[in-house]
Symmetry: C2
Subunit: 359 residues, 2 copies
């Protein structure tokens, strides 16, 4: 296995750099802080593809006037437990946290809050939003649609994003259960890694431009598509497709955002969709107060029991037994965030363009 | 392929038989009607394993005093948008619809309604509940946990049920999108069919008692387990496990029902769980008024557009292209419900025990 060389950077320094860069592009100070905080959490949780590595794509969109640095985020429609939010084409890293707070505030008032968002952009890791809810003893739910890259089962073209879903549950003595998963069989980042290493990909990840299952990662890159969770009919690929569809419809048609193959591109590199069916990118947030359903202490004890019970599962051969959702992403030591050369090159380029010192 | 012989029965006659049988076991007339209606819809939608084929298991539980025919279903805790319901060990086919109505009523009042249920039993097809919500122009969500049969990824024993999730969206001229799926890679019923036909099962469905992937369906039956959607690590088996876990925690720890390996058995044949961690079986229902988020007519037009767009996907070779979720379960012609011999044998046995004429 090729070991990719990395250099460690203190998270505080990376965060400060992001804040200043966002401000350079006209984002107000408090919102720049908010956006940088979401990115840093991506890195701290080891989801490097959704951390500071994405700064370049946000900058290019801001620089090209494709993202509004000073959005007027408004509620267009609401009930006691719901709202529909127009993100005014702001950074998803700013629109998302604000919409999520509206959901949590409504949960404080009437037990639960549910917020559909249009006119947004890429919102970082879904896990950020549900971790916020934990701090209020709420169960958070976060969904977003994203640029098309996944084929529906029996389809031969890209029609859905990797459309992730996140939800989290607070334990008492155990760390929280944090689910944050895409609805595709594999992450696109893993396929990109196979391209770079010139390695074949496993069955069930992707199809080529003719809709035929391929082990060649370039077959997917050259006009093919990723497959939904379950991969094929026999193994339940229709279920992964259903999951992606559910997320797409809650984030698109329900919010008034674009959906399916017409989803808003999150970076300049992507081709423009064939038509516009809504406004910007869409998200869907939920928040449920635990004490609206049960005694929170009892719930947390039950979650602890759940975690210990599942940790004690008889392990499959060659494994240490099941993980608990969230285990792989426990906060990294604060010793530093390991960045690969390609990312530090990007950051130095941003530094050159903006005049903000990086290192 | 072996063709299984079936006989057609008018749905009205099967429904009437169910009503009378439930009443024989002490279920009040209106609740017997409700329960029979849920079962009939299972058959009408072609989900035969969850239709009248299950009558035998409900009867055996009622007959043994393991299900309460006259439950006092109560709300234990509530907010404007939530409730926790105690099903008093009633039929899930009665408790589920009542709890679902509470969710829909709350949605009428404050935009959405969310109801966690404990003290219930098997509630039939999840699709029933979300179809009810469509009639009120709501988006319904239905989850239930169920008897353990699925291993978590890297586990070698049964820890979760096939824990299904259902959600539905109303179109305008197009039929609704109805998602109703288990979180396992394959349905247990399909594995049972392979046993009966003495055929191997595909990779990714099951493990044997040692936790090793098996193509022998009896390997799963004899102490093995089904696998979660995604099957193995490479293809995202951790995601299917996460989905099953999410459903289990919303239906168990949040409602106060049993969960995971301790889930309440739905029929007499299952061994008693090692310990009791809650009360009965659990469900979780959601209902969201479409007009709480957007103009319902616009939403329905968008759903139609979504359906037509996905139907027009370039087909994968050897297929007619993607289906829309719900396509496979469109209501059967009312010519009759095809029952296999084993089911009619069961019904005749019930007829003999109860003295209620079957045919």
């Amino acid at each position: 296995m090729t070991q990719v060389e990395t250099h460690n950077y203190p998270v505080e320094r990376l965060t400060e750099f992001c804040v200043r860069v966002f401000q350079y592009y006209g984002v107000p100070a408090d919102e720049a802080q908010q956006a940088a905080h979401v990115l840093a959490l991506g890195d701290l949780r080891g989801i490097d593809s959704h951390g500071i590595a994405r700064l370049q794509s946000y900058c290019s969109m801001l620089s090209a006037g494709r993202i509004n640095p000073k959005p007027n985020i408004t509620i267009l429609r609401e009930t006691a437990s719901t709202a529909t939010v127009d993100g005014d084409n702001g950074l998803g890293l700013v629109v998302g946290p604000k919409a999520n707070r509206i959901a949590m505030d409504k949960a404080d008032d009437v037990g639960t809050g549910w917020v559909a968002v249009h006119g947004s952009n890429h919102y970082g890791i879904s896990g950020y939003y549900v971790l916020e809810a934990l701090q209020r003893e709420q169960i958070g739910l976060a969904l977003t649609n994203s640029t098309r890259i996944v084929a529906p089962l029996w389809g031969a073209e890209r029609m859905l994003g990797t459309n992730p879903i996140a939800i989290a549950f607070l334990g008492c003595d155990e760390p929280p259960i944090v689910i944050d998963m895409a609805s595709s069989a594999a992450a696109f980042g893993k396929l990109e890694m196979a391209v770079r290493k010139n390695q074949p990909i496993p069955d069930g990840w992707a199809i080529d431009i003719d809709g035929i299952s391929t082990n060649n990662p370039n077959g997917m890159i050259d006009g093919g598509a990723m497959l939904p969770l379950g991969s094929d009919r026999e193994r339940g690929g229709h279920k992964g497709y259903c999951l992606g569809a559910m997320i797409d419809i809650l984030c698109g048609p329900l919010s008034g955002a674009n959906w399916g193959p017409f989803t808003h591109p999150f970076t300049l590199g992507h081709p423009e969709p064939a038509r516009q069916v809504g406004i910007g990118l869409g998200h869907f947030f939920g928040a449920m107060r635990v004490d609206a359903f049960t005694d929170p202490d009892e719930f947390k004890r039950q979650v602890d029991d759940w975690i210990r019970t599942f940790r004690a599962t008889k392990p499959a051969p060659g494994t240490n037994g099941p993980l608990i959702p969230g285990d792989p992403e426990r906060i990294r030591s604060t010793k530093g965030i390991p960045l690969v050369q390609a990312v530090t090159d990007d950051l130095r380029e941003i530094s050159k363009q903006t005049g903000i010192a990086f290192d």
